[in-house]
């Protein structure tokens, strides 16, 4: 892939987007019947599924019970067929454990756990196709799933990546751009209050460029929020229409 430029002369990226454009977001809520809440999201070619069970009684390990709030349990796994080459360890390796922990911390900060003492909320996320922005797709899918489950949250959590290649910030990094070695920043935030829940950065980024990239990521999160919010409202009004019609 040596000949491929990340940004062409006209300012188009490999997939034809401009530097501050998000990939196409498709979302579906209520995909599974067993789970209390479920959602499926596609961000470009990255596909993620999320299911939420809870709040229910703490099953494993009575030591985990918190007397004043609910325990959030997250599990992240990538399907073996999700990457270009077959992935031998879908979960249990360090990267997956780190992702699970980050997801858990993100949602513990956002879900109003004080309403459900001594209970547990399970969030399971599965990546079906990984094309960059895995963590973001997981967070967005899990947000929708938690909303579908009816668990109260302080605000939506929207996540987005922003990178810095050839002196210009790029929004929503795809896998090709990621593997080019450029620095990229993953931000999960609550869009209305602009409070950052999780911040993660890889590779080298000069401190002066930090603000630009952070601003772009914030803007990206707000755009994602707009899409998700519209989808949730459509979904709810559809379901309502179906219920009242019959």
């Amino acid at each position: 892939m040596a000949g491929l430029e990340i940004i062409s002369d006209q300012g188009y990226r490999i997939d034809g987007r401009r530097s501050s454009e998000l990939r196409k977001v498709c979302a579906r809520m209520g995909v599974f019947t067993q789970a209390d809440g479920s959602a499926y999201i596609e961000q470009g070619n990255t596909k993620a599924l999320a299911t939420v069970y809870g709040p229910h009684e703490v099953r494993k390990g009575r030591g985990k019970i918190q007397h004043d709030r609910a325990v959030v349990n997250c599990q992240f796994s990538m399907a073996t067929f999700s990457t270009g080459e077959r992935k031998s360890r879908p979960k249990g390796d360090r990267r997956s454990q780190e992702m699970s922990m980050h997801l858990r911390q993100t949602f513990e900060a956002v879900i109003v756990t004080e309403l459900f003492p001594r209970s547990q909320i399970d969030i399971y996320v599965q990546i079906l196709q990984a094309d960059g922005g895995n963590y973001c797709a997981c967070v967005n899918a899990a947000t929708l799933a938690v909303i579908d489950a009816g668990i109260p949250m302080k605000d939506y959590v929207c996540a987005c990546t922003a990178g810095f290649i050839q002196d210009s910030p790029l929004l929503d990094i795809s896998y090709v751009e990621e593997s080019a070695g450029a620095p990229f920043l993953t931000v999960a935030m609550m869009p209305k209050s602009e409070q950052i829940v999780l911040l993660e950065m890889n590779s080298r980024l000069h401190a002066d460029n930090m603000e630009k990239v952070l601003d772009l990521a914030t803007q990206g999160c707000k755009d994602v929020f707009a899409v998700l919010d519209r989808h949730v409202r459509d979904h709810v009004s559809e379901s309502h229409a179906l219920m009242t019609a019959s």
Binding site: E85, I196, L199, S203, A207, E211
Partner: protein, 444 residues
């Protein structure tokens, strides 16, 4: 072993101190603890002391086959070990979540930021490459393992020398250290992590939290930076909500701190290089200072007392006439003096009677306008009771021995200064008060 939970009052105390911009160990908010970098005999072995946190890093190299998708690059592996040796809170075996997070941050900091050039580790493309492994062991956990580990890892990688390899056609010869001098790794830059601890939902932040501050904090942010002001890694998590300005401010603070730390690392590396070159002994045995008290003996020192005697006589002369005869004083026992008449020796009467007497005495003294208050029960002290002055501006604040007797207040008000005090009765407030406090402290 489960960690002992922190008591609420200790937690509140630490939080309150932080809100007052104070830290328990006396540091400023952006101060690091004492940082010491030392090296072992082997190349690539480094111990970092950050306050009491002790971390050891050892780098080793092996020749292996490269990864399929990267045939011309060697590999760098960083492994962080949290053993129960560091703290009873760590369990042997599987690493905890926080251990994994720290490991990942270290990996991202050094490996993903290309601190060490992996292309130079290639020997024969597609067949043989160097695989460099840095094992970081935490020896003692007193807070902020992350920073200490990052310093240890990058310093050890800079200190390490790998055997020289020459390739002649198909032949690969690995030269032993005696044959040819080992070759250093090519370290492009030195990324160092700076940890920020947040309290009160991001309102207060500290740099380099120690163990108790870590247990009380809301969340943390780790910023990995190098000398060129490039952020190599950034991790903020822990259920805390921050805004953009806080993140930017932290990166600015990190810039300053990283510059200091890297300077220190450079100095340590240079010193070690000089020592090795000069053929001096180097290694841990040399770097750990010998804190020994071999003997403790004091000579009898002669004190010049001539001036003291003169001063004493002067004081007595200037003391002036004594208004009331001091014959009131009765020495009951060594260290116990009674001034004034006591009706009865009430030392072996019931406590109740003593308390009521004490209270009466106190009330009377308060109503009289005197500031002195008896501070403790007589049964507890054999020495004369020192009065605490809550003065509002009374002129004579001489120390007095408050006697617990139902005597008149008049006698109290004209009591003489304590016989044990060799100081002049002065009328000005400040000096007397100071002396009083000093005496009180001395007594205590």
């Amino acid at each position: 072993m489960k960690e002992v939970p922190m008591s609420t009052c200790e937690r509140e105390f630490i939080l309150k101190a932080i809100r007052d911009r104070k830290r328990i160990d006396g540091r400023q908010t952006y101060d690091y603890r004492r940082l010491k970098v030392s090296f072992g005999m082997e190349r690539g072995c480094c111990i970092v002391d950050l306050g009491d946190t002790k971390v050891l890093a050892q780098v080793s190299g092996k020749i292996e086959e490269p990864k399929k998708n990267r045939p011309t690059e060697g590999s760098i592996i960083i492994n962080l070990e949290l053993s129960p040796m560091a703290s009873p809170a760590f369990e042997p075996g599987r690493p905890t979540e926080s251990g994994i997070e720290m490991n990942r941050i270290l990996e991202r900091n050094i490996r993903d930021s290309r601190a060490v050039d992996t292309e130079s580790l290639c020997i024969v493309a597609g067949e043989k490459v160097w695989s460099i492994r840095a094992d970081v062991h935490v020896l003692n956990d007193e807070g902020n393992i992350m920073d200490a580990a990052s310093i240890a890892a990058i310093t050890a990688l800079s200190h390490f020398r790998r055997p020289d390899v020459s390739v002649m056609g198909e032949e690969v010869t690995v030269h032993s250290p005696e044959d040819r001098d080992p070759v250093p790794l090519s370290v492009h830059h030195m990324p160092v992590c700076v940890t920020f601890a947040f309290f009160d939902q991001g309102e207060f932040l500290l740099v380099d939290p120690n163990r108790s501050e870590e247990r009380v904090m809301d969340g943390r942010m780790v910023v990995g930076m190098n000398m060129h002001r490039e952020i190599c890694t950034l991790m903020m998590s822990g259920g805390m909500l921050l805004v953009k300005e806080q993140v930017l401010r932290c990166s600015q603070i990190a810039t300053v701190k990283v510059a200091e730390i890297i300077e220190l690392i450079q100095r340590a590396l240079d010193k070690d290089a000089q020592a090795r070159q000069a053929g001096e002994k180097c290694g841990f045995a040399e770097s750990v200072p010998t804190n020994k008290i071999t003997t403790n003996r004091k000579e009898a020192t002669a004190i010049d007392t001539t001036a003291a005697a003169q001063q004493a006589s002067q004081v007595i002369q200037e003391a002036g006439p004594v208004d009331k005869p001091m014959s009131n004083m009765l020495v009951q026992a060594p260290g116990t003096v009674q001034i004034g008449e006591g009706l009865v020796n009430t030392w072996d009467v019931d406590d109740e009677d003593m308390e009521s007497e004490e209270k009466e005495g106190r009330e009377k003294s308060v109503t009289n306008g005197r500031e002195a208050v008896a501070t403790s029960k007589p049964t507890e002290r054999k020495r004369p009771v020192k009065a605490v002055s809550h003065a509002e501006g009374s002129d004579s604040e001489e120390e007095e021995t408050v006697m617990l007797f139902q005597g008149d207040d008049e006698t109290k008000s004209t009591e003489e200064p304590d016989s044990t005090a060799l100081m002049q009765p002065s009328n000005s407030d400040k000096p007397a008060k100071k002396k009083g406090k000093k005496k009180k402290a001395a007594q205590k």
